[in-house]
Symmetry: C2
Subunit: 113 residues, 2 copies
């Protein structure tokens, strides 16, 4: 199911940080495609959401960038800093906790028992 009403709110940064953690370095467009693949089209990160978010993570010192040119196209790669790795660890704990709480509140504990 496509995420229309966007419960995505609040978890975008966590997703971005984790994608970079998993893949070492990625460029923006690449992240949108990979997320679309993994979620079978359910989650489509839009440019208007992803680029400002990546810029903010850089401004906050959690990411660093470098550009590469591939077939006449510039790719801006992002990678985690040490602070980014640390922040990701926090955000993952938070996400795990949040998901557990949400499942409790909504009676969505399919695979517990």
């Amino acid at each position: 199911m496509a995420i229309s009403s966007s419960m995505l709110k609040g978890s975008l940064q966590t997703i971005l940080l984790n994608m970079l953690h998993e893949n070492g370095k990625m460029y923006g467009y690449e992240i949108t495609q990979k997320v679309k693949d993994i979620t079978k089209g359910d989650i489509k990160l839009t440019e208007g959401a992803i680029y400002p978010s990546l810029h903010k993570l850089v401004a906050d010192g959690l990411l660093v960038t470098h550009t590469e040119t591939y077939e006449n196209r510039v790719r801006k790669y992002y990678a985690l800093t040490a602070a980014g790795e640390a922040e990701l660890a926090n955000k993952l704990k938070e996400a795990e906790s949040f998901i557990g709480n949400l499942q409790m509140l909504l009676n969505l504990k399919p695979n517990l028992s």
Copy 2:
């Protein structure tokens, strides 16, 4: 873990609708306390978030209200309409889908297998 950075964004309405579905009718303050109990203090719904959200659900025809006075205090009870029940069903499917996708993206599938 307390939800500080609030990934709560986007799921508040779903939580409100489901609490009312589970409990028949509730007043605002009661919902905040029940959510706090269920999540062991992790999720604390603030008045600034919950009341405007409840008002919007009423405006959208998903909830109806009536007031009762208990020990000199007015309680404004909310209950689901038929449209509210239907919308809850949609939102629950969405939430389930979203949680599954988020767990995939963040490699948080502890109890699968």
